[in-house]
Symmetry: C2
Subunit: 279 residues, 2 copies
């Protein structure tokens, strides 16, 4: 009986959605090359933090992207020669996901893959349909569901790439998450590209309004994304942030950052929060 009550209470804990960027868990420049020490370290951090109700999403890095690009999967179905490319892209993501989940299980985390392509269909690249009941039930039973960016079927284009970032935002909203933690290979969102500009300034806090302004400025100037491509990914999070879910961008390549973020300890990074409406 006491166990039942504890279980009922447990159900009220709002989930945390943690994304591990493809650039952290793979060697981005080398096709199909995992960063096994990073995967192992992150599994250990997640295991030590031991938070309730965790949903994990990881990116494709050098597994998904090169093959998807070779067969132009992003563009949708154009001709028959892409069909085997879709299979190969999916299979590469399965390979990476297997490494991640194997490592989580080795660290005693009850991780269970939920394959996006098996339960999601997009329309013009945006999630149109998602069967989320298996995922919800996994969470209720205290499993750690693991999803990933994927090649999925698309009702208009035949197929499409579903980014881990779109998935994170959509899951956070559907599951009424408390917070989103995005682990990437730089310290957060910068006003310019930290990989090329040594004086790049870290943006520590931003509201959706501020991000939209920044995006508008970039588009107006017709320049390439000065933030190093980061802003486009972060814009995906806005629908979740506008529902009151806080998003935090941290450097997951730095040991213990993911652990600290999960434990609600201070970590430098970018916090994206809805601006409070003035009363």
């Amino acid at each position: 009986m006491r166990e039942k009550q504890a279980r009922a209470r447990e159900l009220k804990v709002k989930p945390t959605v943690l994304k591990l960027g493809g650039s952290v868990i793979t060697h981005k420049e080398k096709p199909l090359t995992p960063n096994l020490p990073a995967i192992k370290r992150l599994a250990s951090e997640i295991s030590r933090a031991n938070v309730s109700r965790l949903v994990l999403v990881h990116g494709g890095g050098s597994f998904g992207h090169p093959i998807a690009k070779q067969y132009a999967i992003e563009k949708g179905y154009k001709d028959q020669s892409q069909i085997i490319g879709f299979s190969k892209t999916r299979q590469a993501m399965i390979a990476l996901n297997k490494l991640v989940v194997d490592s989580l299980i080795q660290h005693n985390i009850s991780a269970v893959t939920v394959q996006p392509s098996s339960c999601i269909i997009t329309k013009q690249g945006r999630i149109q349909l998602m069967e989320e009941r298996p995922l919800r039930k996994l969470l209720e039973m205290e499993f750690v569901p693991v999803l990933h960016g994927d090649a999925v079927l698309d009702s208009d284009k035949g197929f499409a790439i579903l980014s881990g970032d779109q998935l994170v935002s959509s899951l956070a909203i559907k599951l009424n998450a408390e917070r989103i933690i995005i682990g990437i290979d730089v310290d957060g969102l910068y006003a310019s590209d930290p990989k090329t500009d040594l004086n790049a300034q870290l943006i520590q806090h931003a509201t959706p309004q501020e991000l939209r302004k920044l995006q508008h400025k970039i588009e107006e100037n017709k320049v390439t994304d000065v933030t190093g491509g980061m802003l486009g990914k972060i814009m995906e999070l806005i629908p979740a942030v506008e529902k009151g879910i806080q998003a935090m961008i941290i450097n997951a390549a730095n040991p213990d950052n993911v652990y600290k973020a999960l434990k609600r300890e201070r970590v430098s990074g970018t916090v994206i929060k809805r601006g409070e409406t003035v009363a």
Copy 2:
């Protein structure tokens, strides 16, 4: 335009559901040991046969079963110690499935995994909910969806084992399949166990009524399944057979049998067909 018409015609081809038994694609007595030459040979046979609208289902063999048994997954959730066992069972099935799909892709088959646990929930071990739209769309686009026996979530028991046989029957009905081909490691259904009885008689044709009689006889005599466990698996096919879908049990360990069955050439085995009603 001509291509569009061809595509529309193509959609009318009724699918074939092919099951590859776990005893064919793994070494049943050695945990986690695939039978790679068999997997490769079967991929080559499927590739040569080149049939339209193929759905593949494979069993768990020595990948899924030993771990599922160790953690009593079949019995449903009893205590917290099984949770990691569910994760491990799922991961073992992913490992086997990856080998099968990798081999299919190497043989130029556009195979795409559909993870049963990501889109199916059972109730007392029977399929209660299945999101089948991604699977249907894969078939329409001429992919070869690959499913497998799996550890799945169960709305009553927490979790359960979904057998490949139950999945085959359910898919055949949902997809309005033309036929089912079951590839096992003996020549078909025998009146006694061919692995222990040298005089075992192969049943070449059977109707659901005849199979029910045989099952009744076994239950009445309170003896172990004289057919070597085969009858229980075959009983799963009856709902599909009763809808007019023909099922064929063949020995997939014998080279070219799967190829011939796919090409509608003569193969020895057991054919299960609905008995014609007398006018």
